[in-house]
């Protein structure tokens, strides 16, 4: 199993293929619905540089003591909800890996092929595990968005995650789902 350490370069992302199992070490950013809306609807650029960055879709529950934030629970959320923003996140801000659950659509798949980025699927619902792999909150922007703020966290051994969209244009979720949808008539007529 490979360990990826952000920021990610092209040689790393282009060497990954769907089905590879990876873990992550180092600094990553947490983004969710409201964080994307702030960047793309309110058009406020993210304060930190996201060049080569790994972003994860989620929103932690947390405690705050003074200026320090402690994450109590955090796990991957459904990535498709931010499909419309993700191609721009990759093209305009330089994000090179998106971590989430459930996969993403054709727009993201095309942007990942063009700009050499990948999608890493975590096991949805595995928050106890993911939370245990978070070492520290390094910085936070936009606290008015509560859990949906822009979080910079340090992780150790985050995963395992499966490469589900690669730079070749392969999308494992879409191929599995396409097969399922195409099988319905045969299943109903007992031809399977």
């Amino acid at each position: 199993m490979r360990t990826l350490t952000p920021p990610l370069t092209d040689d790393v992302t282009t060497s990954l293929r769907v089905g590879d199992e990876v873990t992550l070490d180092g600094t990553i950013f947490i983004l969710r619905d409201a964080t994307h809306q702030r960047i793309f609807e309110e058009q406020i650029p993210p304060p930190p540089s996201l060049v080569g960055a790994v972003v994860i879709h989620g929103a932690p529950s947390f405690e705050k003591h003074g200026d320090r934030y402690t994450i109590l629970s955090m796990g991957p959320t459904t990535s498709m909800r931010v499909e419309k923003y993700t191609p721009s996140l990759i093209e305009k801000y330089g994000v090179r890996a998106v971590v989430g659950k459930g996969g993403m659509g054709p727009g993201t798949t095309a942007a990942m092929k063009q700009f050499h980025a990948v999608y890493l699927a975590l096991v949805g619902g595995s928050s106890a595990l993911v939370t245990s792999q978070i070492e520290e909150v390094e910085e936070l922007w936009w606290p008015d968005l509560y859990g949906e703020a822009l979080w910079k966290i340090r992780v150790k051994g985050l995963g395992p995650a499966l490469v589900a969209i690669d730079c070749q244009g392969n999308n494992l979720f879409q191929s599995v789902q396409g097969t399922a949808l195409g099988r319905i008539d045969a299943i109903l007529s007992g031809r399977t």
């Binding site: 529950s61 109590l72 459904t78 996969g103 619902g125 599995v176 789902q177 399922a180 319905i184 299943i187």
Partner: protein
């Protein structure tokens, strides 16, 4: 119910909310074990292993299995007792808010238009509490909590078919709904199916189906045959754990069927993720609480 019942109900409601988020029902654990044994895809097997590891870790640390603290839904079945539903509702609502604040649970309830958060998981329509008479229950009140996760809830669907589309149309709609959910709702799924009733009843039947233990099949032959046939067919879709391919797409199908109008055939599919969050307890006339099997007593 005697004095003090509504205080006990408040405490039980809050405890059930937290219990459902930190430990899985025994019947769901059993079904996940069977899934791990039968899954044929190596990726699928690996995902089921990670799911098991995650459940064990949540138990050891007494922490949340999944970060989604859900939409609080309660089912209260009253046996042969006098129950004041205004007071019961107020107790469950207070229990929900109290558990949210005590355990730092993520507050999920927002106004759908302004997206403003109510802060404690209660509001005008939260918690959602269903009261149901159950004359067979005896002199007790049975409370079930389901903090329903949104990833799977968002993949649910409802349709009003024509009677001409028949049982085949019902099955087609269920298969299409599951296939379109893909990996987005965290499979392997528990699929709640409602058939019949009116527009809102069929949705309710599909949710009620999810409150039933996976050990229990439908009472009538039509119901249990539909459940078994749909489970077999859903698993032929090949979505597998997390939608990344495999032989276990669902661990159970629970169906509830109700009468409908001569010109209607409503179908609802309420998708539930592998966590199958659910916890239940019974309060008797002496205010003794019995928690369901295999759970830590809060």
């Amino acid at each position: 119910m005697k004095d003090g019942f509504y205080d006990v109900l408040q405490k039980v409601s809050g405890d059930l909310y937290y219990q459902a988020l930190t430990a899985l029902p025994v019947d769901v654990l059993e079904a996940l074990d069977r899934a791990a044994a039968s899954e044929t895809s190596p990726t699928g097997k690996r995902i089921l292993e990670i799911i098991t590891q995650n459940i064990r870790l949540a138990g050891e640390k007494n922490t949340l299995v999944c970060q989604d603290t859900g939409f609080p839904v309660y089912y209260v079945e009253a046996g042969d007792v006098d129950l004041n539903i205004n007071r019961a509702f107020a107790s469950i609502r207070a229990g929900t808010a109290e558990a949210t604040l005590r355990h730092h649970l993520r507050p999920n309830m927002v106004d759908p238009i302004s997206r403003k958060n109510t802060g404690d998981n209660t509001g005008k329509s939260a918690p959602m509490v269903y009261f149901e008479p159950n004359p067979k229950l005896g002199r007790v009140v049975h409370v079930m909590a389901m903090p329903k996760g949104s990833g799977s809830e968002n993949m649910s669907a409802l349709t009003m078919l024509s009677p001409a589309e028949g049982l085949l149309g019902v099955k087609r709609f269920v298969l299409k709904t599951v296939a379109e959910a893909g990996g987005k709702g965290c499979p392997p799924y528990i699929v709640g199916v409602g058939v019949g009733g009116t527009f809102e009843t069929v949705g309710h039947l599909s949710k009620k189906a999810l409150f039933r233990s996976l050990r229990v099949r439908g009472e009538d032959a039509a119901q249990s045959e539909l459940e078994e046939d749909l489970l077999r067919k859903i698993n032929e879709l090949g979505l597998g754990p997390m939608g990344l391919g495999g032989s276990v797409t669902a661990i159970a199908v629970n169906a509830e069927i109700g009468e409908t109008h001569i010109s209607s055939l409503p179908v609802a599919v309420n998708i539930q993720c592998w966590r199958g969050e659910r916890a239940e307890a019974t309060i008797d006339e002496e205010l003794a609480v019995t928690w369901d099997e295999g759970r830590r007593t809060p």
